[in-house]
Amino acid sequence: NSKVIQTPRYLVKGQGQKAKMRCIPEKGHPVVFWYQQNKNNEFKFLINFQNQEVLQQIDMTEKRFSAECPSNSPCSLEIQSSEAGDSALYLCASSPNANSDYTFGSGTRLLVI
């Protein structure tokens, strides 16, 4: 069982709807990553945090996604207006520091219909 908890496991949304997923990082891990894994097993880095601060994010994330990692609350990733191409497995990973290996969660599988 992963120490990184992601909810929900499955998410089905219509195009244009908001889609929100959450991640509880492993205890004591201030660094959190989000990756998108598409049906072709291609991984796309979305955003990462250290404590509550964004370290890096890609352009797509900046424009269409809303993400945060508040203190004492789960991290979240929200797509403001879902598109069919957003259908994928969203993986959250956490680490004790940015340069260390990461623990991945089980993912949230999003289907946009």
Binding site: S2, V31, N41, F45, N48, D101, Y102, T103, F104
Partner: protein
């Protein structure tokens, strides 16, 4: 640019047979290398990791991998495959400059009786 190539998209082995999954990487500098396994409808689970040191690293469930700088390879091996090893295996290099993983395309392992 960093890249990871897994030349075999699919591998089929008999239960009890030995296994090698190939991974070639391209990375400027000293790589941090990983093998992850993904079971159906699951996230990524770490099998083993290479940090500069002993080129042969041991992982969970009898897996091991050997780093070769001259061949730019990090092949995964197992002496005797079990049916429960049926999964997708990803090789990855961690870029310590931008704190991101670069994943290979994955190798789908099928175990037959």
């Amino acid at each position: 640019a960093q890249s990871v190539t897994q030349p075999d998209a699919r591998v089929t082995v008999s239960e009890g047979a030995s296994l090698q999954l190939r991974c070639k990487y391209s990375y400027f500098g000293t790589p941090y290398l990983f093998w992850y396994v993904q079971y159906p409808r699951q996230g990524l689970q770490l099998l083993l990791k290479y940090y500069p040191g002993d080129p042969v690293v041991q992982g969970v469930n009898g897996f091991e991998a050997e780093f070769s700088k001259s061949n730019s390879s990090f092949h995964l091996r197992k002496a005797s495959v079990h049916w429960s090893d049926w999964a997708v295996y990803f090789c990855a290099v961690f870029n310590t400059g931008n704190y991101k993983y670069v994943f290979g395309a994955g190798t789908r392992l099928k175990v037959i009786a």
